[in-house]
Symmetry: C2
Subunit: 239 residues, 2 copies
């Protein structure tokens, strides 16, 4: 299986949470087998079609999600249309727990996505009875905060080439939890998504990829890239 941010796990909707391939990486790992049964009763396995939304910016949050496969784009839009992609959620990530009535961002499936869906209210009620789950969510939230803070440095202080190199390195690192460690990196998102994530334009992203190819750092393959000089890419990303 190729290294991919967002491909199907092939086990998206197991009969029971107990058998879920994503469990060890997700918030569910905080629960015992018995508790998992309780959670399962609240969960609704869901398939999300490409381009459809799980959450809409400024709209009430009805559901929260545990992503089990695929890649979800999180973005914020200004009223004049400028867009900032604030992240990509993949299998194991948890979506929607902001303690605000309305969502601060839009979450859209890039390709096919599967997720465990919970009614927000029911999930919050269950949360009140499970301190370990709250603790696990706190760790997830702190980790997301750490990633966002790294992204602040990237957007505030890094060059276009550093941004692209960081992006590729970061995606590869996130895939490693699924054992995808090859030199090939699938990029399920478009150049526009990458540009809006990195605070650049689509042209600058394209030119930067081209330059990295010219410099023999990567080669471009259908729907992704292949690392040629991973160490050097990592070095550009580190600074």
């Amino acid at each position: 299986m190729s290294a991919d941010c967002c491909e199907s796990t092939g086990q998206s909707h197991p009969a029971r949470c107990k058998d879920c391939a994503v469990r060890p990486f997700s918030v569910c790992a905080a629960l015992s087998d018995d508790e998992l049964g309780e959670l399962q009763a609240l969960s609704e396995p869901t398939s999300v079609a490409p381009k459809s939304a799980l959450l809409l910016q400024d709209e009430p949050v009805q559901n929260v999600f545990n992503i089990t496969s695929g890649c979800v784009r999180l973005s914020k839009i200004l009223s004049d249309g400028r867009r900032q992609v604030i992240g990509f959620a993949i299998a194991g990530d948890f979506l929607g727990l902001s303690f605000q009535d309305r969502s601060n961002f839009t979450a859209e499936a890039i390709g096919p996505v599967t997720a465990c869906r919970f009614r927000k209210k029911a999930f919050l009620n269950y949360l009140d009875t499970k301190p370990d789950l709250v603790r696990r969510l706190l760790e997830f939230s702190a980790n997301e905060l750490r990633l966002a803070q790294e992204q602040l440095v990237l957007l505030g202080r890094r060059t276009a080439e550093e941004r692209v190199a960081s992006f590729l390195t970061m995606l590869r690192a996130r895939n490693s939890r699924f054992g995808h460690q090859g030199a090939t990196l699938q990029l399920p998102m478009s150049r526009l998504d990458i540009a809006d994530y990195l605070g650049l334009t689509i042209e600058t992203v394209s030119r930067t990829f081209t330059k990295m190819v010219r410099d023999k750092l990567i080669i471009i393959v259908p729907d992704g890239i292949r690392f040629v000089d991973l160490a050097h890419v990592g070095q550009i990303a580190a600074e």
Copy 2:
């Protein structure tokens, strides 16, 4: 009392947590009076001198802090010296709970700062016995994440003038919890701090302030600014 991000509350080190002016805005609000006594036993009231550090990037985290007065600058530095300020912590904010051994950023007092200090280990142990406190920390973390995500949009997609206007508006909004709602806004941080927070240079920040003065949006006063056309500043900040 003037509107200030970071002035002393005048009640920085009350004899007991029960009497702490900051309590309703801090994580401590999750605890009953009795529990507050337990927490107090773990806490060490601390004065931090201007320019000294509470946390150091990449260094082990020994303590966590509940800020009671003053303004703390949170920043990340790249190995070639480029700096990004990722936030300012003020009274009521909680610092250091990242669940990582080493700090992801440096936290330094800008002016005099007071804080309740806890040994990280002791605090984590106490946390395990107090689900309500974990829940409160989760809400704090989710809120910080929301702020960081707003900052991603600012750094990725906004113009210099929009960044400065947002900054002023945001500072004013944060002060509101302390009842500081006047037209005057104290700016305890330097132009360099502001520039590094907004992903700009010191010159661009200075020029943008000057332009806003010329446009009769603000006037510059010692250690701060005064809003002349608050509505218009807010409008620039909103877009």
